[in-house]
Symmetry: C2
Subunit: 200 residues, 2 copies
């Protein structure tokens, strides 16, 4: 053995192309980003878009769902840094990250899929949720729990209800708000409305 990678023998023959693999996943995300539902994605369209033979796709994934799972899993969810100075500031930081993401076509369409196809592709969505949704929800939950502990939030506050109010409101604007980008100060206004309530 001349070259050996961490104890695993490299199989003989030409190695699989990393470039092709990335191109396939990029093409998949592109098509999803253009509004394709999972059921409308065709392997042939992905192969064509990626400049790749169908063989190269089938060699790696046995079916479309597995491919989509892997493609969605590559979407990073970098949570914004939280200053920790106040609950209000941290909430604004989290919600403003949602606002910024909602401006990207790819993120919007992925969200569409997450919301509408979870019944038909439960396996796919379970994995995607764990990867992309759960960390954000957990961050929000942590901020709220910290706020309850510090007295910045009601001691009897239902944490889930708090997350629902905050991210649900942003979700509403994303889908049904005025067309185009969301107002830059939206997160701040939503947080203040949620914190202080609609009554005088």
């Amino acid at each position: 053995m001349t070259i050996q990678e961490s104890g695993t023998t490299r199989p003989a023959g030409r190695p699989r192309s990393e470039k092709a693999e990335r191109a396939i996943i990029e093409a998949t995300l592109d098509l999803i980003g253009e509004g394709m539902g999972v059921s409308e994605l065709s392997i042939e369209a992905i192969a064509s878009r990626a400049g790749v033979g169908k063989t190269t796709i089938y060699r790696r994934w046995s079916n479309k769902e597995d491919l989509v799972v892997d493609a969605l899993s590559t979407l990073k969810s970098p949570l914004p840094p939280l200053s920790g100075t106040s609950v209000r500031e941290d909430l604004i930081a989290l919600l403003d990250a949602m606002r910024r993401e909602s401006g990207q076509a790819r993120s919007r369409c992925v969200m569409n899929i997450a919301m509408s196809e979870s019944d038909r592709y439960p396996r796919l969505m379970e994995r995607f949720f764990k990867r992309a949704i759960e960390p954000r929800r957990e961050a929000l939950r942590a901020v709220i729990e910290r706020g309850i502990a510090s007295g910045e939030l009601r001691p009897d506050l239902d944490v889930e209800l708090g997350t629902a109010v905050l991210s649900g409101t942003m979700l509403w604007y994303t889908k049904w708000g005025p067309a185009g980008d969301l107002a830059p100060d939206l997160a701040e206004r939503v947080v203040d409305a949620a914190l202080h309530g609609l009554t005088p």
Copy 2:
């Protein structure tokens, strides 16, 4: 002329079957209610489900989109009666209607379509929005404006922000809340959280 209906001459020949028409629309809504996206609906599946020949469908609608528009338009949106005694009570009535609807598979799937396919079928969705979504939003808006006028809500409240907080929170529970039916007192809790805020 022997029998004449309200000034319009009935054309000769066998009249179109009202029963077949309803069966077609029912079948369409059934399939949508089972999780079908618009793009996955096939005329053949609808015809088969309705016990009808494809001819009978094509005679009435020239394409799938027109059929879906008509089918969705038959979905009633009976707004709940508002007591008008207080903003809080009216809001609870409106949000509880959303909660009850979210338990019905057909309503859930229609909502899925409304949220995820609005990019691909803008014409369809525009009409559906006007029919099913806009009246509810308008009712919510009216209650909020009345509350501002009566002093029950902040005088400087952004009406759209208020609707976003209320219906967005319900939306969040519908899609991402705990599985199964929503808690019967959810609307009340959401309204109180929105009215009084998350702070002590």
